[in-house]
């Protein structure tokens, strides 16, 4: 089935891909973002938005920046992260990977059931974005949400218990693999329908803006919406790009383009496979970045988050990434070419970061091994905790259908809310 759109053709980073592009000149979006390489001191002769130009990522790789800096300014070696940051990133990615591997083991042992979608290979995207957020920023994800929840701060114990369906899970066993919610960490789900999380994320961003402008509160919270390449053909995606740009909402749309929607190749299902181009069509910057390199993702994320906090509006970031496992644990994963898998396996984000840290003398092998061991123990402990936790009690079946403890508009004191003078008083002036 080799055609010019075969999946092994790399989408990005190659000059030959001009064949896939229509010869249209894109006008650069009004903001100076993402061209704004001033922080990376790239020569300005590079055209970043014109489609017929070389299709390189507007954000240049770490190695290249380092090399350029060495050439232009031999006095200062520009490293993109400090040692502490590097170790935090490394630990987060190792946690994501170990956790997902453990999920696979537990699934095959029958401890986990239903639909389980693993995130192996895409850790750079989650870590790159979420580690820049504060606790009050929101993250909205899809069914592939374990690692987003972990990066956002939900404990491994809580996520593992939730997957086992135990009462100590983050949703008391009522949500499951695809519905990780945490109010404390502002992880707003976990949605099974693709595209469903995008409007919800847009609404959370809307709330930030509303709090600032109407309620006059100090609110700089941003929302990051994660979704895949298949979602980018869904109507809700475009509806939200439009409204986010229209209302200038503090949201970042992150496309985790892993080229496959179960067995449907992105190139087979999309008329124009370059998703980042859809941003400028709606009046927001569209960025493409190598999603297998956590430092590149982090640089792009920094600019996008700063833009959103400053009130300049949304950004669409397309991360080219890959999932090392099938769509879910029930997917035999027969349609993907072995060569493609091998190519991306060679670009494993964890190995790449490890190499960077060691080569730039930010950490030595020993420190990294300690982190790996610590995470292994953490994940093991999470499994033990989940195993030992009880299943939900029978009475939990009927709980939490409504926020109203008994429905019927009956308040916690057992009386009708409408008869309680406190409920009905207000400062209504008509």
């Amino acid at each position: 089935m080799a055609t010019s759109f075969s999946a092994t053709l790399p989408l990005h980073g190659s000059q030959e891909n001009r064949l896939l592009l229509p010869p249209i000149r894109l006008a650069p979006p009004p903001s100076s973002f993402l061209g704004s390489t001033r922080s990376l001191t790239i020569p300005s002769s590079r055209r970043l938005y014109h489609a017929h130009a070389a299709r390189r990522s507007p954000v240049v790789g770490v190695q290249e920046v380092v090399k350029e800096k060495k050439v232009t300014n031999s006095l200062v070696l520009c490293i993109l992260i400090t040692k502490e940051e590097g170790l935090v990133l490394y630990e987060d990615m190792i946690l994501g990977r170990s956790f997902e591997d453990m999920c696979a083991q537990m699934y095959y042992r029958g401890k986990m059931f239903g639909f389980v979608h693993l995130y192996n290979g895409q850790e750079a995207v989650s870590t790159g974005f979420i580690k820049l957020l504060t606790q009050s920023d929101s993250v909205v994800s899809t069914y592939r949400d374990h690692v987003h929840a972990l990066s956002k701060g939900v404990s491994a114990r809580a996520v593992m218990s939730e997957l086992f369906g135990k009462v100590t899970g983050c949703c008391r066993g009522q949500g499951g693999s695809m519905h990780m919610f945490s109010k404390e960490h502002n992880m707003l789900g976990g949605f099974a329908f693709i595209g469903e999380g995008i409007p919800v994320a847009t609404g959370a961003a809307f709330t930030s803006k509303y709090k600032r402008e109407v309620l006059k509160q100090d609110c700089e919270d941003v929302t990051v919406a994660f979704f895949g390449d298949g979602t980018c053909n869904n109507g809700q995606f475009y509806e939200c790009l439009n409204m986010a740009a229209l209302y200038k909402l503090p949201i970042i749309f992150v496309v985790e383009n892993n080229l496959w929607a179960i067995g449907m190749s992105h190139l087979r299902s999309t008329s124009d496979p370059e998703i980042w181009k859809k941003g400028p069509a709606f009046g927001m910057p569209g960025v493409h970045v190598d999603g297998m390199d956590v430092l590149k993702v982090r640089e792009v994320a920094k600019e996008a988050v700063t833009r959103a906090r400053r009130g300049e509006g949304p950004t669409l970031v397309e991360c080219e990434t890959y999932r090392f496992r099938g769509h879910s644990l029930a997917d035999p994963d027969e349609l993907r070419d072995a060569a493609e898998k091998a190519k991306y396996a060679a670009r494993d984000p964890i190995t790449a970061l490890k190499k960077y840290l060691v080569e730039n003398k930010l950490a030595n092998e020993g420190e990294l091994k300690t982190i790996e061991k610590k995470i292994d123990e953490l994940v093991e402990e999470a499994v033990e905790f989940a195993d030992a936790s009880p299943q939900p009690g029978r009475s939990q079946l009927l709980e939490n259908v409504f926020a109203d403890p008994k429905g019927f508009g009956i308040g916690p004191d057992g009386r009708y809310r409408c008869e309680d003078p406190k409920f009905t008083e207000g400062t209504a002036q008509v």
């Binding site: 919610f181 409007p199 939200c240 409504f402």
Partner: protein, 366 residues
């Protein structure tokens, strides 16, 4: 006993004189409060939203044409001028998108009032109403509640054709996690909408386009800005002892007219205005059926799997030994709504249909 308690709770919003008149039993629909003002349902809804927006800055309105156009049916008239474009949003024609945005805003703590131009358009957004709004409190084990109201006209209007005339009460009322309300009079509209906006759960508020312009008397209590009606309580619009007629929304008016016609023939009909489709007030319905022993349920929507089917099942389950006649179910015709005026009349329940059914229920035991 529960029925009487229920009635008292319901009548809590009425003046003492009207209470006495209710107890005497034979009250026509429009004279329950002496010397009262009249208010259209449109004004009632408008004043309810206005007062709730004024009381709580987290409440905002979102929908197509709600701002500059003053509302497709003028329900949100004047709100844009009063509260500004930051609280009254004219959205693009993107039901799925803006409904989802409303749900997301509710997740994050605001209280949106999302208007659908008609509930037929809500089908484009139904994924968000059901999957992200109704189920969220359960899926997150109580962490994330969704204090959102979805409102708009529901059911048949006049000559608007098949795609604009469907009644969605049965669809939404079958979903756990949603509250579904259907007001009839101006007082219902005010009280239930205020309760819905204050409620911490997602509420589907089914209005009726043909009722918007109708005027109803309204009591002083109902005009007060803290007036609220309980969710999940039906109202006995007219007391009777021979047959129970349960219905909601526009059909309440038809049922009341039918009750007057039946009264001329010596049949005393009790008319129950359901007000709340989910949670359904089974207690009031069953108490009434135990009193009268006969049931006629009326609704405008499609017959199969409708609200009437649920009420019949509930009565058969709980009050079977009290029934003297088979339960009667009157619903719209089992066809998409035709356009021609005479066919449309045939496709919807009319007063004569209700009268005929009630007579059937009453004479069968003889």
């Amino acid at each position: 006993m529960w029925g009487i308690l229920g009635r008292r709770a319901v009548d809590g919003g009425f003046s003492a004189s009207s209470l006495r008149r209710m107890r005497s039993g034979l009250v026509s629909a429009r004279s329950y409060a002496a010397g009262s003002k009249e208010m259209t349902v449109r004004d009632a809804l408008n004043s309810a939203i206005d007062e709730e927006m004024s009381a709580d800055p987290k409440v905002f309105v979102m929908g197509e044409e709600v701002g500059q156009y003053q509302g497709a049916y003028k329900i949100s008239k004047g709100l844009l001028e009063k509260y500004g474009p930051e609280r009254v949003y004219d959205t693009p024609i993107t039901e799925a998108g803006f409904t989802g945005i409303g749900v997301g805003a509710a997740y994050a703590g605001l209280k949106p009032v999302v208007e659908f131009m008609t509930f037929n358009f809500s089908m484009q957004a139904i994924d968000h109403i059901i999957n992200s709004a109704a189920k969220s409190n359960y899926m997150s084990a109580g962490q994330i509640n969704v204090p959102i109201v979805f409102r708009g006209p529901n059911g048949a209007a006049a000559g608007v054709g098949a795609q604009h005339s469907q009644c969605y009460a049965a669809w939404y009322a079958s979903v756990p996690g949603l509250k579904v309300l259907a007001p009839y009079s101006a007082e219902d509209a005010r009280g239930l909408l205020k309760a819905a906006i204050r409620d911490p759960d997602p509420v589907v508020f089914l209005e009726n386009e043909l009722l918007y312009g109708e005027s109803f008397p309204i009591s002083e209590e109902a005009l007060d800005s803290s007036f609220c009606l309980p969710i999940g309580k039906a109202k006995i619009e007219r007391e009777g002892k021979d047959v129970t007629i349960t219905t909601f929304s526009k059909m309440v008016g038809f049922a009341l007219k039918a009750a007057e016609k039946l009264a001329e023939e010596g049949i005393s009909a009790e008319v129950i205005n359901l007000r709340s489709i989910r949670p359904l007030d089974r207690a009031t319905i069953n108490a009434s059926v135990r009193k009268t022993s006969r049931l006629v349920t009326v609704e405008e929507g499609f017959p199969q799997h409708g609200v009437c089917a649920e009420i019949c099942a509930s009565v058969v389950e709980e009050s079977f030994s009290y029934l003297d006649a088979p339960v009667e179910r009157i619903a719209g015709a089992d066809v998409p709504m035709p356009y021609a005026a005479n066919l449309e009349r045939l496709a919807l329940p009319q007063v004569e249909d209700i009268v005929r059914a009630a007579k059937r229920a009453c004479f069968r035991s003889k």
